[in-house]
């Protein structure tokens, strides 16, 4: 004899909030996973309900990466913490020249977080993952007491596969190599700051958060082995990325300020916030190091892709034991572009 099934109340996505039971391993947690995450990420692996998900290994070099996202505010012009987490992990995979295959996502949720917001974030993650052809096939959910986390933190990991023989690395820049930037800098950081408490200002600037694997595929196809390395200039901005490349590759860089694309609105916002766009975070841009003979073809290929339409050659690698990133300013003088000391603004991604 089968007992009558208890009535399963639907999650209240209008006024409901995450409570501690949603992380307790019981039926409430099962329902949250089912109705929020499985519904949004929508794939057979998750529907199977296993903790681990199995998949066949593709031929080529596997790459793996992991990230944590704590951005505040969680919704900002041009994106939210969910799409940011997915795109960020895809971009880390793409910087190895790889195609993203599978992702995982873990959530640390603060007690009291609105279910509607959680669903909105999950939907945005599902959409971003589907767009990239990289399903989220594993995950975890934890709920902590109010005040022990701020709304929601997301940790993502991903695996991808790079074409055989391609070995992009940040230590591969050689003097004479050309530096190409895929587009305008500072959009993400300024978009997030514009919504920050105490800092709010009116602007049309949207985060550039985007998955770059498509652009990268086109770049790899065009430049092949003349492409030495790529990096996405996230926290610390273009300045940090160039300094990291310089130190890892044991070279210096010589760049031209006038060649670096910056939106007028971003420049204006940085001006009154006292920031340098070179230090401001990006979430949909990349810096490519390419051997000189491949530079023009690569630039053309990047400009042919919507996410690289404003790509520009900004300088070149030079011999320099000091590993300085030197910039000719638009004003006509020279200066160093250094890492930012301390923290510009916490929780930008």
């Amino acid at each position: 004899m089968t007992l009558e099934k208890p009535v399963r109340r639907r999650l209240d996505f209008k006024n409901g909030r995450v409570d501690l039971s949603h992380g307790a391993g019981g039926r409430a947690m099962g329902q949250l996973i089912e109705d929020v995450f499985v519904a949004a990420f929508d794939n057979d692996w998750l529907r199977a309900g296993n903790d681990p998900s199995a998949f066949d290994v593709a031929a080529g070099r596997m790459v793996m990466t992991t990230d944590a996202y704590v951005v505040s505010p969680i919704f900002f012009p041009g994106g939210d913490i969910g799409s940011l987490a997915v795109n960020g992990t895809i971009n880390d995979i793409a910087m190895a020249g790889a195609r993203p295959l599978y992702l995982s996502a873990s959530f640390v949720i603060e007690e009291g977080f609105p279910l509607a917001d959680l669903r909105r974030i999950a939907a945005s993650m599902g959409e971003a993952a589907r767009g990239a052809g990289a399903p989220i096939i594993a995950g975890d959910t934890k709920v902590v007491e109010r005040g022990k986390a701020d709304k929601v933190f997301i940790s993502t990991a991903g695996v991808g596969v790079a074409p055989p023989g391609l070995n992009l690395s940040s230590d591969a820049a050689r003097p004479g190599d050309v530096v190409i930037l895929s587009g305008t800098i500072g959009d993400h950081g300024v978009a997030v700051m514009s919504k920050r408490e105490n800092l709010e200002f009116e602007t049309e600037i949207r985060s550039d958060s985007a998955a770059l694997h498509g652009l990268v595929a086109q770049m790899v196809a065009t430049a092949g082995l003349s492409l030495r390395g790529m990096r996405d200039p996230t926290r610390g901005g273009l300045a940090a990325t160039l300094n990291e490349l310089a130190h890892q590759s044991r070279v210096g860089f010589s760049i031209q300020e006038a060649a670096i694309p910056v939106r007028a609105e971003v420049a204006a916002a940085c001006e009154f916030l006292g920031l340098d766009p070179l230090n401001v975070a990006n979430e949909g841009k990349l810096v490519a190091i390419v051997a000189p003979q491949g530079a023009q073809a690569l630039l053309a290929a990047m400009r042919a892709h919507p996410l690289g339409a404003e790509a520009a050659i900004i300088g070149s690698a030079v011999e320099d034991d000091n590993r300085f990133v030197e910039m000719r300013t638009a004003f006509g003088g020279g200066r160093i572009v250094d890492w930012l000391a301390g923290e510009q603004l916490p929780r930008i991604c």
Binding site: F331, G334, R335, I336
Partner: protein, 383 residues
Amino acid sequence: MKYVDEYRDGSLAKGVAKEIARQARAERVYRFMEFCGGHTHAISRYGLEDLLPVNVQMIHGPGCPVCVLPMARVDMAIACAMNPRVTLCAYGDLMRVPGSHASSLLKAKAEGADIRMVYSTLDVIRIAEAEPNREVVFFAIGFETTTPPTALAIRTAEKKGLENFTILCNHVMTPPAMRAILDGASDGDEAPVRIEGFVGPAHVSTVIGTRPYEPFARDCAKPVVIAGFEPLDVAQAILMLVRQINEGRAEVENQYVRAVTRDGNAKAQAAIAEIFEMRESFEWRGLGWLPSSALKLRPAFSGYDAEQRFGLKTKPAKDNPACECGAILRGAKKPRECKLFGTLCTPDTPMGSCMVSPEGACAAHWTYGRFRETEAQRVKEVA
């Protein structure tokens, strides 16, 4: 960006640079001090030095509010913040200024002190209103530019009847510091620095006007050119100083006419005068104790004085003996001449205040200019 890009225009800069080179007489060296950290920052960030002939040299001055704050006052702020009832609000630049024993507000915050970074004094008022059970203290620092906003905060607090709001007042004044540098004020015993003219403050002068520099220029026989903070402003001011020197003039000239008048901002001056009065003497990092160089709250507003409310006392504090911030603030030494520069002292782990604020001479040189050191050697040889 309209009204900004024009002042950073490379082709205009070339024109001014050419004119400076034409007018500067080859047989002499022109040594000018840019008083303000804002100018130091602009010179370094835009690479202005590269546009100057080798015999026109800039000496960085002490006009960086964070840099001139003596260690004893930082210690006082930390002691105040460690009071569990206190919420200390400070501008972001102050967080990493070293106090005694490698302490800082940032470290005190990590140890549990309630210290918050603010962007304006109005943020502080908001915090005091929202949290009536906290003693909200504003760590007020700066020259005449930041004094009016502090005065406004006191007025606002009075109007709103806020009893949990006080300030730790460290407001200082520009003209006495300029004079002290020429008089050879020092915490060491070196001779006064040879300076032939000053690039005068931009923002400070929007408040006080150009008139307060007139007795200084006359008495000390040194030209002063008030200049904006954009690189072209500074370049033009340098050209004006070269002309004055060549013509044997020592006048106050105003390059920054788009913002500065002779009499300044009367409202801001009135707000300062209403709330503050002169301190007898105040300690400056690098310049020592200078009479009539800083402000304190008038007796009528002493209720807003954190020093009184919390019985804060100055304890003598000593900088690291190897730290040359003092000599650097007086223009007597260049950052590279400090043994700690770039080794133990960097913007990531500052030991001296000049390495903390982006307006500090050491931080500006480290962040933007240190590639130029081989060139600096060349300039020294010419001099």
